[in-house]
């Protein structure tokens, strides 16, 4: 079974530039998550999709971050404009429909390491 795919793996940009990350979840997984992981910290949820609808985006800085999941499969996360404090690893994860399982095991991609100069 193929895992969660993310690209690019690394990205270096200057502040005020824009950047986009792509995620392809495991086939059949209804739920998709984007996390931000700053060095030395645990993953922090930015946005959660159930199919192509947003379930939780309470911690997404909406003035600069946006995300979409067209057709309930792939997803993109965009930052525009980037700030120095956005330097982090951006992790995508997916899981089965919570209504079909008794607990939520999340499967993570390798992440995109973003450096903002």
């Amino acid at each position: 079974e193929a895992g969660v795919a993310q690209s690019p793996r690394y990205k270096i940009i200057e502040k005020r530039q824009s950047v986009a990350f792509w995620c392809n979840p495991i086939s059949g997984h209804a739920t998709l998550y984007w996390y931000q992981q700053i060095l030395g910290q645990g993953p922090k949820l930015l946005i959660q999709f159930q199919n192509n609808g947003v379930v939780d985006d309470s911690q997404l800085p909406k003035d600069r971050f946006s995300a979409e999941r067209l057709k309930g499969v792939d997803s993109t996360l965009k930052i525009q404009p980037a700030k120095l404090e956005d330097s982090a690893v951006y992790l995508c994860a997916s899981s089965l429909d919570p209504g079909k399982v008794s607990y939520n095991e999340q499967f993570f991609g390798p992440g995109t390491r973003l450096t903002v100069l």
Partner: protein, 111 residues
């Protein structure tokens, strides 16, 4: 809001010994508590889950305990090996699909 605390310091253990990692939380008890492993440059990988009505769960050399009175979970690796060196994350799940992660504990097993 819910807070999760894990051993802030890195843990260094001699090979063959038992490593014990701690996860403490405040406020409400989660429905589930999960443990993940994260290696450098990779995403977290699910290891074990324990439900709020369970006291202990085992999987091979791994054991997790859950004390809702103390609001604490302990994660044990017995007969530790250098390959067990990684960061271990505790995660609380209150309701289906919403998980909050701790900051993790870095474990090093020396030969």
């Amino acid at each position: 809001s819910q807070k999760i605390e894990q051993n802030s310091e890195a843990l260094n253990i001699q090979e063959g010994k038992t490593a014990t990692l701690t996860c403490n939380y405040t406020n409400y008890s989660p429905a589930y508590l999960q443990w993940y492993r994260q290696d450098p440059g990779r995403g977290p990988v699910f290891l074990l889950l324990i439900r709020e009505n369970e006291k202990e769960k085992r999987k091979e050399r791994l054991k997790v305990t859950f004390d809702t009175t103390l609001k604490q979970s302990l994660f044990h690796i017995t007969a530790s090996q250098p390959a067990d060196s990684a960061t271990y994350l505790c995660a609380l799940e209150r309701s289906a699909s919403k998980i909050i992660f701790g900051s993790g504990t870095r474990l090093s097993i020396r030969p």
